[in-house]
């Protein structure tokens, strides 16, 4: 079982490009449909917890499902399985691919990629705003957070803590 957990999550880690939400359908098909380790309702609950804990979504789910099935050892092996493929591929790229970064053609490709990455991140701001269903007044917190890191140069950790307190003080029950 412990090895099974490692294997299934290594497969999930190896075949999902784009990270995060791209991995959810694959985890569901492996863990709920094929292996039947987890019931569908429970999967939804695990997803909700994984979304509201810090860190990468897929890894959080791996830890949770691993723990459910086989305790701490299960959690460790599922988590390591999930990380290993990307760890190895990044290591490979960092060790060998970086040598090609000086080639003219790679330089030119990255000249094109850089503004695209900026577009990706700019777009992710819209996407996150949409998926977290923020009510209009609460966008004041967004503006405040932007100003706090942008102009006051506050530590983002501090900004997160302040905004958590803001939520606790100003949010209404069941909002």
């Amino acid at each position: 079982m412990i090895f099974q957990l490692f294997k299934v999550f290594a497969k999930i880690g190896a075949f999902t490009l784009g990270g995060g939400y791209a991995m959810v359908p694959l985890i569901q098909s492996e863990v709920v449909d094929k292996k039947q380790w987890i019931e569908k309702d429970e999967f939804v609950d695990i997803l909700a917890v994984a979304q509201s804990t810090p860190g990468a979504l897929a890894i959080n789910m791996a830890s949770f499902i691993g723990y459910r099935k086989k305790g701490i050892l299960g959690a460790v092996s599922a988590t390591l399985g999930c990380i290993l493929p990307s760890f190895l591929s990044i290591l490979f790229i960092a060790m060998f691919f970086v040598r090609f970064m000086d080639r003219e053609i790679v330089k030119k490709a990255f000249m094109g990629i850089r503004p695209a990455v900026a577009a990706l991140i700019a777009f992710s701001v819209f996407k996150i705003a949409k998926t977290s269903r923020i009510k209009s007044v609460w966008y004041l917190v967004s503006v405040g957070a932007f100003a706090a890191v942008g102009f006051l140069k506050l530590d983002p950790i501090f900004v997160i803590l302040i905004s958590a307190f803001t939520g606790i003080i100003f949010a209404k029950r069941g909002e």
Binding site: G19, F110, V141
Partner: protein, 171 residues
Amino acid sequence: MVFKLFILFAKIGAFSIGGGYAMLPFIQREVIEKNHWMTFQEFSDILAISQMTPGPIAVNSATFVGYKLAGIWGSIFATLGVVLPSFLMIILIASFFAKVYEKELVKKAFMGIRPAIVGLIAFSAYGITKTNVIDFKSSAIFILGFSSLFIKKMDPIYVIIISAIIGIIVY
């Protein structure tokens, strides 16, 4: 250095709620602005590579940054660091307070945290756009990339590949 990387990425792992790009503001402050370990441009290249390799972006960029700064051990400790806080938290939730997350207080805190994350990432988006979008060609690629994501709902990986090809042709 290896220990410093571990602590730094554990901090990032503990506070980047919302996954992926939520770690940007922390990397920007600690790695780029405070310690000057790399430039914004270098980090944005790492992001592009992380987006195109399998696995979560946060973990991929931790591995890459770790390797760049302190070799194999750097990559191992940065990766473990970024994973550890959420791992511990998940274990705690799974074993003790499975229901804590339903509690009113936590829900209220997230009412504040979610919009703050949007603001934080918006600031990073602003910084990366300022470094990477510098002339007519890059502005055109930016607009093309943004609209294909926004209107066409194109997969980010294709956006990167197409922009790379455009880069090879126009530069």
